[in-house]
Subunit: 363 residues, 4 copies
Amino acid sequence: MASNSFGTIFQLTTFGESHGTALGGIIDGCPAGLDIDLDFIQSELQRRKPGQSHITTQRKEEDEVKFLSGIFEGKTTGHSIGFVIENTNQKSHDYSHIKDAYRPSHADFTYQEKYGIRDYRGGGRSSARETACRIVGGAVAKLFLKHYNVSIQAYVSQVGHIKLDKSYTELDLSKTEESIIRCPETSTANQMIEFIESIRKQGDTIGGIVSCVVKGTPVGLGEPVFDKLHADLGKAMLGINAVKGFEYGAGFDSINYKGSELNDAFVSLSGVEGTQIKTKTNNSGGIQGGISNGEDIYFNVAFKPVATIMQDQESVDKDGNATIVKGKGRHDPCVLPRAVPIVESMAALVLADALLRNRASKI
Amino acid sequence: MASNSFGTIFQLTTFGESHGTALGGIIDGCPAGLDIDLDFIQSELQRRKPGQSHITTQRKEEDEVKFLSGIFEGKTTGHSIGFVIENTNQKSHDYSHIKDAYRPSHADFTYQEKYGIRDYRGGGRSSARETACRIVGGAVAKLFLKHYNVSIQAYVSQVGHIKLDKSYTELDLSKTEESIIRCPETSTANQMIEFIESIRKQGDTIGGIVSCVVKGTPVGLGEPVFDKLHADLGKAMLGINAVKGFEYGAGFDSINYKGSELNDAFVSLSGVEGTQIKTKTNNSGGIQGGISNGEDIYFNVAFKPVATIMQDQESVDKDGNATIVKGKGRHDPCVLPRAVPIVESMAALVLADALLRNRASKI
Amino acid sequence: MASNSFGTIFQLTTFGESHGTALGGIIDGCPAGLDIDLDFIQSELQRRKPGQSHITTQRKEEDEVKFLSGIFEGKTTGHSIGFVIENTNQKSHDYSHIKDAYRPSHADFTYQEKYGIRDYRGGGRSSARETACRIVGGAVAKLFLKHYNVSIQAYVSQVGHIKLDKSYTELDLSKTEESIIRCPETSTANQMIEFIESIRKQGDTIGGIVSCVVKGTPVGLGEPVFDKLHADLGKAMLGINAVKGFEYGAGFDSINYKGSELNDAFVSLSGVEGTQIKTKTNNSGGIQGGISNGEDIYFNVAFKPVATIMQDQESVDKDGNATIVKGKGRHDPCVLPRAVPIVESMAALVLADALLRNRASKI
Amino acid sequence: MASNSFGTIFQLTTFGESHGTALGGIIDGCPAGLDIDLDFIQSELQRRKPGQSHITTQRKEEDEVKFLSGIFEGKTTGHSIGFVIENTNQKSHDYSHIKDAYRPSHADFTYQEKYGIRDYRGGGRSSARETACRIVGGAVAKLFLKHYNVSIQAYVSQVGHIKLDKSYTELDLSKTEESIIRCPETSTANQMIEFIESIRKQGDTIGGIVSCVVKGTPVGLGEPVFDKLHADLGKAMLGINAVKGFEYGAGFDSINYKGSELNDAFVSLSGVEGTQIKTKTNNSGGIQGGISNGEDIYFNVAFKPVATIMQDQESVDKDGNATIVKGKGRHDPCVLPRAVPIVESMAALVLADALLRNRASKI
C-alpha cells in the first residue's frame, strides 16, 4: 500500500534503496514563492553523510542532491519538487554471505515474509541511506519555517550510560555542531566520543538519546484529536530507523509528579508587543490539548544500538537452517551524531505541515 | 482541517463534545461478513465508563452505544457503520467560573487561540469523554482481529512511584480485570489503589504507565518507511489525552545495552505446523524494520497526572487578567484504570488497519 | 476500504441505509466561526425530500436533520459536526419478492458479489436516500461559500427530448424554484411536467440534464494536475446516483469548433476596483489549466432514467434462476427536480474544499 | 497543497515541467512480485511521444524512462518505484514574447494568480509533457492488470465532425495502432487524417473523442458512494489536459430512453465454468451502483482543440495591457492520437487501485 509519503499538505514522498541507482523524492505542497537556498540544503546533507568523522561509518558517499523541478529562478513555484541523490559508492560486491541469511534484528526476515522477495544486496528500503531524502525534504521545510521564525535544534543528550544531565535551557545549543558527536557540552561530548571509540574497538554498537527543541512556534499548530502535534511528532520520530521510544515535555518523568506539581500556571507578560499569555513552567512541552501554546516544544528520541555489529552472530537462512552471519563491512558504532539532522528534518516536516493545516482553522 | 479520522482502510471518524447532545462516530472500511457481538462492545464501554469504582470519577454516565447502520442480521455489510452515544448527564450548570478563565494545562487557551471560539461548558472536544467513541471503534476492530486470532491485553504497570517490576511474560494477565486498578498482580494493585486514595484526599492527581501486549500478530504487518507498525502505534497512543511518552520492545532501556546484547537471534523451531522461524529473545518487541515478525508486540504508554485538580490554581482569563481557577467537579484522581481499554482500542484500530493494508503487499 | 468520505480539508463522511434506523454524517474541517443558519439547512433538505410534488415519489419522509456537535451558540467551533436524519417511514414490509432477486440495473447483484451479504430490504447504501446527508454537508458548505460571495445555482435543462435551448446567461435563474420541475423557463417547465406525467402513467421513468452555474469564484481554486477543479467537480457529480455523464464549459460541443474559434481572449476591464483581467468569451467554463479564472463556472450533468419502474421485468435470482421482478412501491418517474439540490450540494463541497486548499498555495 | 498524487493503494506521484531538467515520478503501492517488462513500458511511451507522425507536433523528444528503485532482478519488490525522464530537447530559447503575456485559454493567467510566480518558458506543470509520467505509471498498472486478465483499449472515435458511427462491439480494435490517428476503421481514419492536415495548414487545431473499453474486469471493483468506479474514471479522464467531458455506458444518450428501454436484464449463462450471471444488454457500461458487474466497461472522453494555435491572438499582459500573442513553435494540430495511450494509462491506474482496494471488501 502507498506508504512512502509523509505529511498531508506539505508532503514528502521518497524512493530508493542503498544499492540501487539512486534515491530521491518529491516534495509536494510547498507553497510558492519560497527562496530556496541550495547551499543550506547541501550543508544539511553533509551533517548526515557517512564518513564525516572517525566515530561514524567510514563509507564514503557524497550525497549530492540534484533538484529536477518545482524551482524557478531560485524560488518555489508551488509545484511538486523532484530530486535525486545518486548512489556513487555501489561497488560490485559478493553478497552470497547474506543472500539467504537473516541478519538478527534487521528487516531481512520481515521483508522476505511480507513481500516474498528481497533485495539482498543491502538493507534495501530499510537502509538508513533512505533518510538522506528526509534531510532534503526537511531542509526545504526548515526554509519554510524560517520564514515564520520557527527554528529547530537537536543534539545528542545521551550515549549509552553517558548522559548530559541538564535541561536544554541550561545549555548553549549553538555549540552543538562544534563536536563530532553533536553534544553541546564539551566535557560530556568528549566522554561520549571516547566511549563510542571503545565500543567500536569491540566491534559493537551503542545507542542513546537525541533531544530536540523547537522555538518560535506560533500558538495553534496541531489538531485536537488524533492528529495532536505531539502525536504527529511521535510518529515522525518512531519512523526513523532504530528509534524505540519518544517522549515530549515532562515525558515519562511526569509519572513522578502530582498534578498540582506538574500543571503549568498561566501568567500575563507585558512587553512591547502588548500583553502576552505565557506559562510559568513548561512541563507541557509547548503543547496543550495537542495544540502548540507558543512555548518551546521539546522532546526526546531513544535510539537502540544499530543491529549491524562486527561480530559473528548465530541465525538461520530462509529455509530455517542454522547459519552464521559474519560481521563485516563499514558501519556506524553509534548512529546518534548522524541522527541529529534526521530528527530535525522530521520535526521540520511535521511543523511545516501543521502550519499550513492551521490556515484552515478559522473562517 | 479534517482531522477527526484515524486509519486508512479500517477508519474511525468521531464527533462530539462532553456537554453536547451526543457523541458518535463512523467506522468505515470494516470488511463485510463480520459477526457483531453487541454485548461485547457494550462491555468494553463499561470498562471505560466513569463511576465504575471509587478510584475513578464519581460522575455517572451510562455510555450506551446505539448502532445506526452498516450491520444487517448481526453481520457487517461492508458499508459505513454509524453510531451514537447520548450524553445523559448534561445538568444545567453554572459555567461562569471557567467561561473566560484558562485552566492550567488544559486546552482552553490553545483552543481559544486556534479557533477564536470555545465551548466553555467543559473541555469540549478535548474532554476524555471523546475516547468513548474510540472504544466503540476499537471493539469492532477487536472482533475483526479475533477472527484472525490476534488478541490485545493492556494493564496498569505503574502508578506514581509504585511499579510492577516484572515483564508481562512473568504475569498472569487474565487477572487484570479482577482489580479496579487493572494491575494483574494483587499486592501491587492494592498498593496502587491505596496510593490513589491518598492522592484523591489531597485533591490531587497522579499518572503512571499502561503496558500493552499484542499476541498472535501474523508476520508482515506494518509498512517499511514512514508507516512503521510501531510508528502508527505510537501515534495512536500519543493521541490519547494525557499521554506524554511511548516506547516499544526494549524501549528507552535499549540505551543501556550494546548491539551484541540486544540483537534477537533467529532460531528454527520444528512443530506440528512444520518449521517456524522465531527469535530467541524479543527485544525488538515483535517488530523489525517496522514490520511485525510474529513475536509478541509489547509497548508502554506514559500518562501524566490529569490537569483537573481539586485545588485552587492561579491563572489568567482571556484578556490576560490574573484569576483563580477553583477546583470543583467530579474528576479522576488517576485515569490509568479507565485508560486501559482506550490503549487496547487504539492498538486494535492500528492492527486491524495494518492487517487490511497488508492484503496489498503481494501480487 | 474507507470510501464514505468526500473532500480533503472540508470533508463529509456519511452513513446510513434506506431501511435502517437513521442516516447521518460528520462534517470535518469546517473552519471555526461560521454562522450556522439551521433554517436554511432544513430548507435545503425540503428541496430534496420525497413527496414534495405530484411528479416525485409519493413516499412521505420528513428528512429532519439533528445536529449533535461542532456548533456552539450558533457558530461552528472548528470541530467535527455530527448529524443524524432519522428514518421515520420504515414500515414493516414484505421483502420476499426482492430478497433473492436482482433488480435490473440496480446494485443488488454487484453488492452481493462484492460483499457476500446485502441488506435486501431496499437499496441499502445504494438508495438515493443517502443523498440527504450530502444535502446537509452541502448546505454547510454553501454557508461557508456565501461568506466569500460564492453562489451556486442548478436547474433542470432537459427532460427526455424536451430541452431548454438557451444558455444560462439568457435565463432568469431566480425563477428556478417557482416550478416543481425546477426549470427556470415556464413554458419549457410545463412541457417537462406534462411529459413526466405521461411517463409515470406508463409506469416508466425518464432522465435528463441538470445544469449548474457557480458565480463569484475567486481566481486560483483547483490544483494543476490530478485534482483539477473540473476533475473534482466531475467526480462529485458522477458519484451521484444515476449520473452517466459530465461536461463543463463548451463540453462535448467543443469538438465542433477550431481552437481559433474556441479560445477565450483576455481583456482588461477598468472599474471602481481597478483594472481586472477578464475573458471575452467563456468557453473555458471558468476554469483554465484546472484552476478557476474568476469567470462563471458552468457544467452539465446527465441523469439516466432511474432503474425502478412500475413494470414487471425479467431477471435472475442469486442462484441464477430466472425470475420476475415485480414493479411496485412508490418511486420517482423522474429524479431531475430532486437532483437539483444534490448537484448544488456536491458542487458546494468541492468549492469549499478548493477554497481552503488554496490557502496553502502561497508563502 | 499536495496534489500531484493519483490513487489510494496503487498511487502515482509525479513532478516535472516541460522546460526543466527532467520529469519523473514515484509509483507507490505496486504489489511485490510483478514482472516488469521494460520494453513494454518504453513502447507505451513511444505511443505518446511527440514527432511520431506528420499529424502530431514535430518536436523531437526521446522520452526514455529510467527506473531508479523498487525493481530487483526484474520484479517489483513492493517498495516505491522511482523513475525519471530527462528533457533532452531544452534549447536555449527567447521567451520574451510570452514572459508577461497570457496566452488565451492556457494556464498562464491562473498560475500567475494562484502562485504569484510562473515558469514562463513553457506551460510548466500545465504542459502535456507531464502526461509522459502518467504513461509510465499506467504501463506498470497495465502489467499488474494483465496478471488478472484485465485489458484496456482506447481509440479515436471522433475528430471534429468526422465520427466513427459504430459501437466498439462492431469494430476490430486490434487495428487501432495500424493508423497514425489510432482509429480502428481505415476509411474513417483516413478522413480524420486528411481533416487534421487541412486544420494544420490553417495554423489551427481541432478536438475530438477518445473512446475506451476495459475487458475482463472482475465483479466488485469500485466503491458504493463517493468513489464509484465511474466517478474515479471520470476524475482520471477530466484530469487530462484539454478534456471537457466524460460519459460512460449509455452516457448522455441515456436521456433519450425510458427506464424500461435502458435497464439491463440479468440472464444466466451456463458454460464450462458453471453458471454465470450476465446482462442481456450493457447500457450500464459494466458498472452498477458504482461497482463493476463483469461486463465490458466503456466510456467516452471529449477533448477540446488545444489552445496553442499558429495564429496571432489578442490578449493582455500581467499588468492588463493589451498585447498580441504570436503563433509560433511546434505544436499538435490535434492531440487525439497521442491522447489514446494517456486515456488508457489513467484507466489502468484507476482499475489497478480498485482491484487492490477490493481486497478489503470481505472478511
